[in-house]
């Protein structure tokens, strides 16, 4: 009953004209960000933070979450029309979506992708509504040791699942934590690793790092592709933007299954939309009566993954809002935004700011409806964005990134920091070091160190506190499992294959 009251109050907040406008703006910008190459939701949200300083935090966060889930809708457009995922999570949509487009069914592929995104996105928000309060109540029992082990688990999970090499992901995580230690130590007041640079006394701003690592680095990579002569052909959108009855019937169950897979994967730290869409695709292929059609334009291969990667965004909001722990790059930036507005996500947020948290959750229901309208009848407008030449778009993104960094403190020195992060991000992409773990640890690093030191102060410097409660033991065990799993799984598979061969 209490939850129902909160939901109703949340709707009262998100249906205010100003919040409806920001929901629309977030969804609109998110769709554009999803469609355009060179800028993803993480960088998009980070670039907007300085502009929203003067705004009401509820409206600002509603807009940012709109960008987060809106980008997933837009990401499928490029996947279907130019065989390039606008977002990493749309990678599976390229397989059958592009094949459908080649067969003249681009309209149907875009329609099912928007419908699947809407249905699963809404399912995901229902899941978020149902699970938020029980999880937040459980999180109230967390002390510094539990928080430290929880953040440790989030980082190990992200490290083990991001990229091809767990060791490189771990290096990325630890480098992020090391960068987070730069600046004045909050407990002793001593400067650390500032090298006498006054701009480093407050630490490295995460917005600068995110804009550099995601926006500038992505532009550099695209520019290099352009120099190499990599060209993409856009398939013209023609015919009816709707499905046949048979296509609808074939898509219905994959959408619901994808929604459930996406939500569950989204709640887990590290996995994210890409893994959710891969799992959904594999699942649909296994369930299908016509697996041979997959890869040749099977509509289930679009419906399932698109549903999964949209439900994942609502799932990802569960640990962010209830525990204050992001599970990936975009939610890490959102956590940073919360902190900048002086709001600490976590269990107390549900008690102290129910208007904000429920307004935000309920805005996702409204946002999904807006996105369905934006991505069905208005899709033709967004498709036009794909015709902007890269040679014009990429320099403009660099200029927007410059404004985003400069707007934080008006300090030109920070522009150089952004450029350095851009170069780091570009090099890391080339050598296959994933960036999401670094951003996650950059945002969580300060809180993680404080939790570690608080726990050690409580225990009189006895590290046994980190295995002193059932929650801690479970989280430490999960962390160890996350670290070992990427190394053990291939061995286990080889052993299983070997024993099968000898049998």
């Amino acid at each position: 009953m209490e939850t129902l009251t909160h939901i109703m109050n949340g709707f009262a907040v998100c249906l205010q004209p100003i919040n409806l406008w920001y929901t629309f703006l977030g969804c609109f910008l998110g769709t554009i960000i999803g469609v355009l190459p060179g800028i993803g939701p993480s960088a998009g949200i980070a670039l907007l933070i300085p502009v929203t300083y003067g705004m009401n935090p509820t409206s600002a966060l509603i807009m940012m979450s709109g960008i987060f889930y809106g980008a997933r809708y837009g990401g499928s457009t490029t996947a279907i029309l130019i065989n390039t995922p606008g977002e990493a999570s749309s990678v599976m949509t390229t397989i059958d979506g592009y094949q459908m487009a080649l067969k003249g069914r681009a309209g149907a592929a875009l329609a099912i992708s928007a419908l699947a995104s809407f249905i699963a996105g809404t399912l995901g928000v229902v899941g978020l509504t149902l699970f938020a309060i029980p999880l937040a109540s459980m999180a109230l029992k967390f002390g510094p040791a539990e928080y430290f082990t929880l953040m440790f688990f989030a980082m190990t999970a992200v490290s083990s699942l991001a990229g091809k090499s767990p060791a490189k992901a771990m290096i990325s995580t630890i480098l992020g934590l090391m960068i987070a230690t730069i600046g004045i130590d909050l407990q002793s007041g001593q400067p650390r690793y500032t090298m006498g640079v006054p701009e480093l006394q407050d630490g490295v701003g995460f917005i600068i790092a995110v804009v550099g690592l995601f926006a500038i680095a992505e532009v550099f990579t695209t520019m290099e592709d352009m120099t190499r002569g990599v060209r993409t052909e856009i398939i013209r959108l023609k015919g009816r933007l709707w499905l046949t009855r048979d296509e609808w019937n074939r898509s219905l169950m994959p959408m619901f299954r994808g929604g459930i897979i996406g939500f569950v994967i989204g709640v887990l730290p590290g996995a994210g939309g890409t893994i959710a869409s891969i799992m959904s695709y594999v699942w649909e292929k296994r369930m299908s009566k016509h697996p041979e059609e997959f890869g040749k334009g099977a509509i289930e291969g679009v419906a399932g993954p698109e549903a999964a990667n949209n439900a994942d965004t609502a799932g990802a909001m569960v640990p962010l809002l209830t525990l204050g722990i992001p599970g990936g790059g975009a939610t890490a930036v959102m956590l940073g935004a919360f902190i900048m507005y002086g709001i600490q996500p976590g269990p107390l947020l549900f008690q102290n700011r129910p208007d904000l948290v429920w307004g935000l959750i309920d805005s996702m229901y409204i946002g999904n409806i807006m996105l369905l309208i934006l991505n069905l009848p208005l899709i033709g407008i967004f498709v036009r964005l794909l015709y902007i030449p890269g040679g014009i778009l990429m320099p403009l993104i660099l200029a927007i990134s410059t404004i985003g960094i400069y707007a934080i403190n008006g300090n030109p020195v920070e522009l150089y920091f952004g450029l350095v992060f851009g170069v780091i991000g570009y090099v890391f992409r080339k050598i296959d070091i994933p960036l999401a773990p670094m951003v996650l640890s950059l945002v969580l690093g300060g809180i993680m160190e404080q939790s570690f030191r608080q726990a050690m102060t409580i225990s009189g410097a006895n590290p046994k506190i980190f295995v002193g409660s059932p929650i801690c033991i479970t989280l430490v065990a999960l962390s160890v499992l996350s670290i070992l799993l990427p190394f053990l799984l291939p061995r286990l598979k080889a052993w299983r294959d070997g024993s099968r061969d000898t049998a």
Binding site: P166, A167, R192, F220, E224, T227, P395, Y406, A461, F487
Partner: protein, 154 residues
């Protein structure tokens, strides 16, 4: 494989420099049994463990070097020179950002990049760079984001 070796060596160097820099932090441990050095030391140790894991991965894949080269194959670096140029040009843009002001510096910066990446379309390039610089300045100033005026009077 070669790339991984370079990453391995760089990781060890970063860990060594970080450990050394940690010794330079002044210690004040009042009310804090660990002090400001403990967590960084832990991170330095973890980075060494990560380097060890990378070494294990390299050892495991030693017979299959093609798998570990990733995007960093011989051809991949050939066009990286352009990115060095763009980085230097961006650095130069930041150097004059305050002095020339946002509008002038951005218009020149954008025009040069577009002239390289969108060759031959002079009218479109000039119009886009000048209009974008002017309109974005106006829009962000309206949003209370202060961008440098520089040499322009407004």
């Amino acid at each position: 494989m070669m790339t991984d070796r370079v990453i391995f060596v760089c990781t060890l160097i970063i860990a060594a420099v970080y450990f050394y820099a940690t010794t330079l932090i002044p210690s004040l441990e009042i009310g804090d049994p660990l002090g400001p050095k403990a967590f960084p030391r832990l991170l330095g140790g973890c980075l060494l463990i990560a380097a060890g894991l990378l070494f294990l991965e390299m050892w495991k894949d030693r017979k299959n070097p093609a798998q570990t080269t990733g995007n960093a194959g011989a051809g991949a670096w050939r066009h990286a020179g352009v990115i060095v140029g763009v980085s230097v040009w961006t650095g130069a843009y930041y150097m004059v950002f305050d002095k020339l002001g946002y509008i002038v510096a951005s218009a020149v910066y954008l025009l040069a990049l577009m002239a390289w990446f969108h060759r031959g379309k002079w009218v479109a390039n000039v119009l886009t760079s000048v209009l974008f610089a002017g309109l974005s300045y106006w829009m962000f100033v309206k949003l209370d984001v202060n961008l440098p005026k520089g040499i322009l009077p407004f």
